[in-house]
């Protein structure tokens, strides 16, 4: 089990390093590269320093701030933060300050995380490149001439650039998974209902999920376990307890059955490079002991068309409120 999130939390909890020192290291990287990457709509350095100080005092007093003690985290700018502007990268919400925290925010705070800022995104999460933000595009930290993907491009870029150890994004039709892939980090769209959406500005409610970005699978699992769980304030939140993602790590691929969907191999719109990487991943899983087999899912080719029926219809309902009454 490893990664910077695990390492920071272990160091801060044991007093080997202070949360303040960890934060300054990350703020330093933000100072060096944020102007060219533009991962953030807002960097809350002062509030983060106060919070890191609190965590260090708790450790000094013999307390345990939690499994994410001192871990610098960025939040996609459609996750409500009490007292901190939440813009959805749109001028429609300019000047609005949420009077409450999203459930994921209070859970991360309860686990000891330090919020560093609000991450850029495609406006109201509509886009796949983070070029469509009212505050300007985010660039891919690996190559500034390329896009970071989207809509959670700021969250992915912030982790890839080392500005934060982990971040949260939201995924309706790929908005965590695709920027994670483009920025070379780990991103998870959790099972629907696993993570509360209370305080998430909605796009398409039957598809939206909040999920983590990190640099390793183990780190992403740790953040996911901190935000997952039933919330009575989200009526689609799954009741009951579920096994922690972290408890399933380290078992290897032995005994796993992996299906490779036949209809997607060579499908229209898939680049040869991507198809080759998918084959390599299947081969890697097979040589690690998984049983890899081709499966047929004939309806999968209608997925995109079904998405284009449902997502815009739900977005139209959800966003009508910003149109006012006329």
């Amino acid at each position: 089990m490893s990664g910077p999130v695990h390492a920071i939390a272990a160091d801060v909890r044991s007093g080997r390093r202070s949360a303040a020192e960890v934060l300054e290291e990350h703020l330093g990287r933000i100072g060096e590269r944020e102007e060219s990457v533009h991962a953030f709509n807002l960097v809350t350095a002062d509030a983060a320093r106060q919070r890191a100080g609190q965590i260090d005092r708790a450790v000094a007093a013999g307390g345990d701030p939690g499994p994410l003690a001192g871990v610098p985290v960025a939040l996609k700018d459609l996750i409500c933060t009490r007292g901190v502007p939440t813009t959805c990268s749109s001028r429609i919400l300019e000047g609005w300050v949420p009077p409450y925290d999203a459930t994921v925010v209070s859970r991360l705070a309860g686990a000891g995380a330090v919020f560093v800022g609000k991450a850029n995104m495609d406006e109201f999460a509509m886009g796949s490149s983070t070029e469509h933000s009212a505050f300007g595009p985010t660039r891919n930290p690996h190559d500034l001439s390329r896009v970071p993907g989207g809509s959670s491009g700021g969250s992915a870029a912030a982790v890839a650039a080392g500005f934060v150890a982990a971040s949260l994004g939201s995924d309706t039709g790929g908005s965590i998974r695709q920027p994670a892939a483009l920025c070379g980090v780990v991103g998870v769209k959790p099972t629907y209902g696993l993570v509360s959406r209370y305080g998430l500005v909605a796009f398409a409610s039957s598809l939206d999920q909040i999920g983590p970005f990190a640099t390793t699978v183990a780190d992403a699992a740790l953040v996911l376990d901190a935000i997952a769980g039933h919330d009575p304030r989200d009526s689609t939140s799954l009741p009951g307890k579920r096994p922690a993602a972290g408890s399933r790590l380290g078992r290897g691929a032995e005994g796993l059955r992996v299906g490779v969907i036949a209809e997607l191999a060579g499908a229209e719109g898939i680049s040869a490079d991507v198809a080759a990487r998918v084959s390599e991943a299947a081969e890697a899983l097979a040589s690690a002991g998984a049983k890899v087999e081709e499966v047929s899912v004939p309806s999968v080719v209608y997925g995109l068309s079904a998405y284009y029926m449902m997502a815009p219809a739900e977005a139209s309902s959800n966003l009508a409120r910003y149109d006012g009454v006329r």
Binding site: W96, V97, P99, Y100, Y192, G193, S206, P232, S235, T236, Y302, L304, S305, A306, Y308, M309, P312, V325, R326
Partner: protein, 100 residues
Amino acid sequence: MAQPISKDDVAHVARLARLALSDDELEQYTSQLAGVLRHAADIEALDIEGVEATAHPFPLVNVLREDLPTPSLDRDEVLAQAPDVDQDRFRIPRILGEAP
């Protein structure tokens, strides 16, 4: 294939949405919206005879809580976000005219 949406349709929708579109933008959005509508045609072409209607893959039911008072958001903090307030309420522009 016939265009599923005309430039006039797009101009009409733009007027309803109070959007001023240039002629180039009208062309661009007509072809983009036509692309979206072709997705509808793909779904419409499916034979769904005998397929049960599915609103959601999970058996979701309405979730209701006990009707008991619980703490809610701070009224002053919420009202502080309003452009205009009258006593404890949001004040908004009049939307219904009075009879002349």
